[in-house]
């Protein structure tokens, strides 16, 4: 039966103020059922306060074959890392 159900990707916000994070996927007949399945599968131990689901087929992904073109050029741009600055002690969350 689950073979007939489309796949949904599940994103969980673990606490208010944090972002939703991808945690896995569930099969479900529709979005409402996907939320219920995500709740039952991924939040049984109080892992979350909010759930997003999205049809896996609606996700556009980068092509691994293009990885060189997309990501290689960033390799030699180390100056983009903010490691050349001294961070004041008072700044905690950088």
């Amino acid at each position: 039966m689950s073979k007939d159900w489309p796949l949904f990707e599940v994103f969980i916000r673990s606490r208010a103020g944090l972002e939703h994070k991808h945690v896995g996927s569930v099969h479900a007949a529709d979005a409402r059922m996907a939320i219920e399945h995500a709740r039952d599968v991924y939040t049984r131990r109080q892992e979350g306060v909010s759930i997003w689901v999205v049809r896996s087929s609606d996700i556009m992904a980068s092509d691994p074959a293009e990885a060189d073109a997309l990501f290689e050029p960033a390799r030699d741009k180390v100056y983009r890392h903010p490691t050349f600055y001294t961070i004041p002690d008072e700044v905690k969350n950088l």
Binding site: S2, H27, A28, D30, R32, M33, E36, H37, D40, R44
Partner: protein
């Protein structure tokens, strides 16, 4: 529920619970409250056990977990209610002794709860009808004059809201789904409907609890339950069966044959190895 911290010999061999015998010195009100708590607790326990039977057999892994979650909620409610019942009874029994060492005639659950799982549609219909009932009951009980019962109900109410969302969603999906799923849902509804009369037929226990403001008036809950059912059935394109007054008395300890079979399995371990723990 951890298994039995029961002390051998403490079990009430006379089966006084629910047999109408009031323990010497007990106020009549305690006996009535005891029966009332057993009705609520046993309904949750029996329904929870039934759902547990699906584990490993559900139509999908996600449903397996979903039904197990509902089952655990219900067993948790049963534990709170039966713990309270055991204290009211005051015979040294605990919730495990009540769950595992009573026979079918001493169980006070609604007859609907003990009906077999059947196919998935039958499980969903049984769940939906009882979820709607528990939702109304717990909402009313959360303002009970009995503060302990009110606290248990307030906790259970949150669980029931999810259960109702789950089962009503499935019923709509099945009823308004394929020809096959519609047929199965309607069959299940037709088969189980005769057990719904018991949900709201008040007897002296319900009436005494209502007049003490411990429990709700079942007569007042009935139309609210009925409206919920109608709304979902309409959306599910299912036909509400004709009402039939049928004398089921699960809450008085008179059960269909199914409960005995279910208890045989549920109680097997404690009956075979009394006091076993893990």
């Amino acid at each position: 529920m951890s298994v039995a911290k029961t002390t051998p010999g403490v079990t009430d061999a006379s089966g006084a619970v629910g047999s109408g015998v009031t323990a010497p010195g007990a106020r009549p009100c305690d006996d009535t409250l005891l029966r009332y708590l057993l009705r609520l607790g046993d309904t949750s326990l029996v329904l929870g056990q039934r759902l547990g039977e699906w584990i490993g057999h559900s139509p999908a892994l996600e449903e397996d977990l979903g039904l197990a979650n509902l089952s655990l909620d219900l067993v948790g409610q049963a534990r709170l209610l039966l713990t309270y019942a055991a204290e009211v009874e005051g015979k040294g029994r605990d919730e495990d002794a009540l769950a595992f060492l009573r026979d079918a005639p001493q169980f006070m659950n609604l007859t609907l709860a003990e009906q077999p799982n059947g196919d998935f549609a039958q499980t969903i219909v049984r769940q939906f009808l009882l979820d709607a009932w528990q939702l109304e009951m717990y909402e009313a009980l959360s303002s009970s004059s009995d503060t302990r019962l009110a606290a248990i109900a307030a906790k259970a109410l949150k669980e029931s809201r999810y259960h109702y969302r789950f089962s009503s969603g499935w019923l709509i999906r099945l009823g308004d789904g394929t020809e096959e799923s519609h047929r199965r849902a309607q069959n299940a509804l037709n088969g189980l409907w005769r057990f719904t009369d018991e949900l709201f037929s008040a007897d002296e226990v319900d009436e005494q609890m209502a007049s003490a403001a411990i429990g709700p008036s079942l007569g007042e809950l009935q139309p609210r339950w009925s409206a919920r059912i109608n709304e979902v059935l309409r959306e599910a394109t299912l036909e509400r069966p004709v009402s039939a007054r049928y004398p089921w008395h699960g809450k008085r300890g008179v059960h269909t044959e199914h409960l005995g079979h279910m208890l045989t399995e549920m109680q097997h371990l404690q009956r075979t190895y009394p006091g076993a723990q893990w």
